[in-house]
Amino acid sequence: MILLSIDHAFCLQASGVDNTARRKWDRQEFLERARKREVDQQARRNSSRDDSPPGEKKPLKHRDFEVDLTARLGKTQVITQVAPLDQQAGYFCSVCNCIVKDSANYLDHINGKKHQKALGMSMRVERSTLEQVQTRFETVKRKKAEGGLTDEGTYEMSIQFEMRMLKQQREEEERKRQRKERKKEKKREKALEDAGGEIDDPEVAQAMGFGGFGMKK
């Protein structure tokens, strides 16, 4: 073939002089970089596989708190491409450091395997026994009864009522005091004004507009 690659043609030259304008790369440096990158990837892969052994995972636990889906509803926010994930649009999961665009998918994610594994819980639910169920009925019934009109309940409520009354009284007094203060202030200011800007002749004062009350026409 007549068409030789430039390199090949170059090799055919006897002198071995580099008179091309092509860009060259430092092979050593890039070899180093490649090796380092491989080591990092291995480390990352190993660390991600390093979750707690299956025996230690706690059984699946019910969420005690309410998942708040409407916190950022209706809010306007400026986002950029380089903003950290928790400021991007959508629901942010801090455990897995990811955003999910949709409330339904967010709930699926929270209930999903990866997330629960990250929290240290296996996907199995523990089974309840009869006694647990019975005691649960009892406790909830008692709690509901207490929330109503038991002796302790009413005592609590009367205490709270007293406290609220006291607070209101204190607030009233505060308000009255502040009003008085303001009135005094105004009077003082008025006195100063009158004293400062007063011209002896009341007529001249009137002509110039420094009248008392009811002087303005």
């Binding site: 019910h62 309410e66 395997k113 169920v133």
Partner: protein, 168 residues
């Protein structure tokens, strides 16, 4: 997996207990927000709490066939498959009528014919009123004994086909 039946659960009427609810309805329930938010990782105990908060029964309603919380809790019970004593405890509970109705419904779906008749017939004496949601979304008044009658005599209730029990 949140939607899988408990691996230790026995099969019911020859099938996975969750299959007693038909596929479309099951999918609807799995996609509903009540299921995802409230019914995650429930055990029989925590299910007690949720059952006490029920205030109406019903199947699906609305143009979208939205599932009621009652349906979600029934599917949850099918998923975790509590023991018979726990279900009987639900039925024996006098204070909360919706807990009772939930237990009765579940027993009708999974129980043997003798159990069904043995535990549900006493509930004929319960004359309390319950709220039921009809398919168009509005509520109507019903009674516990009416509902039990429907369970024991008809084939279809709350959008679920009931397994066959022999006639009394």
């Amino acid at each position: 997996m949140a939607n899988r039946t408990d691996p230790a659960a026995k099969s019911v009427h020859g099938t996975n207990p969750q299959n007693l609810v038909e596929k479309i309805l099951r999918e609807k329930i799995h996609q509903s927000s009540f299921w995802k938010e409230q019914c995650f990782a429930l055990t029989a105990e925590t299910l007690v709490d949720k059952a006490m908060e029920l205030d109406h029964i019903g199947g699906t309603y609305g143009g979208n066939r939205k599932a009621t919380p009652f349906m979600c809790l029934t599917l949850k019970m099918l998923q975790i498959q509590p023991e018979k004593e726990i279900v009987v405890e639900f039925i024996k509970n006098q204070d909360y009528k919706y807990v009772r109705v939930l237990g009765a419904f579940y027993l009708r779906l999974v129980g043997k014919a003798t159990d069904v008749y043995q535990y549900l017939e006493p509930l004929y004496n319960d004359y309390r009123k319950i709220r039921q949601r009809s398919a168009d979304g509005s509520f109507f008044l019903s009674h516990v004994d009416e509902f039990i009658d429907q369970l024991l005599t008809t084939d279809y209730c709350c959008d679920i086909t009931l397994p066959r029990v022999p006639k009394r």
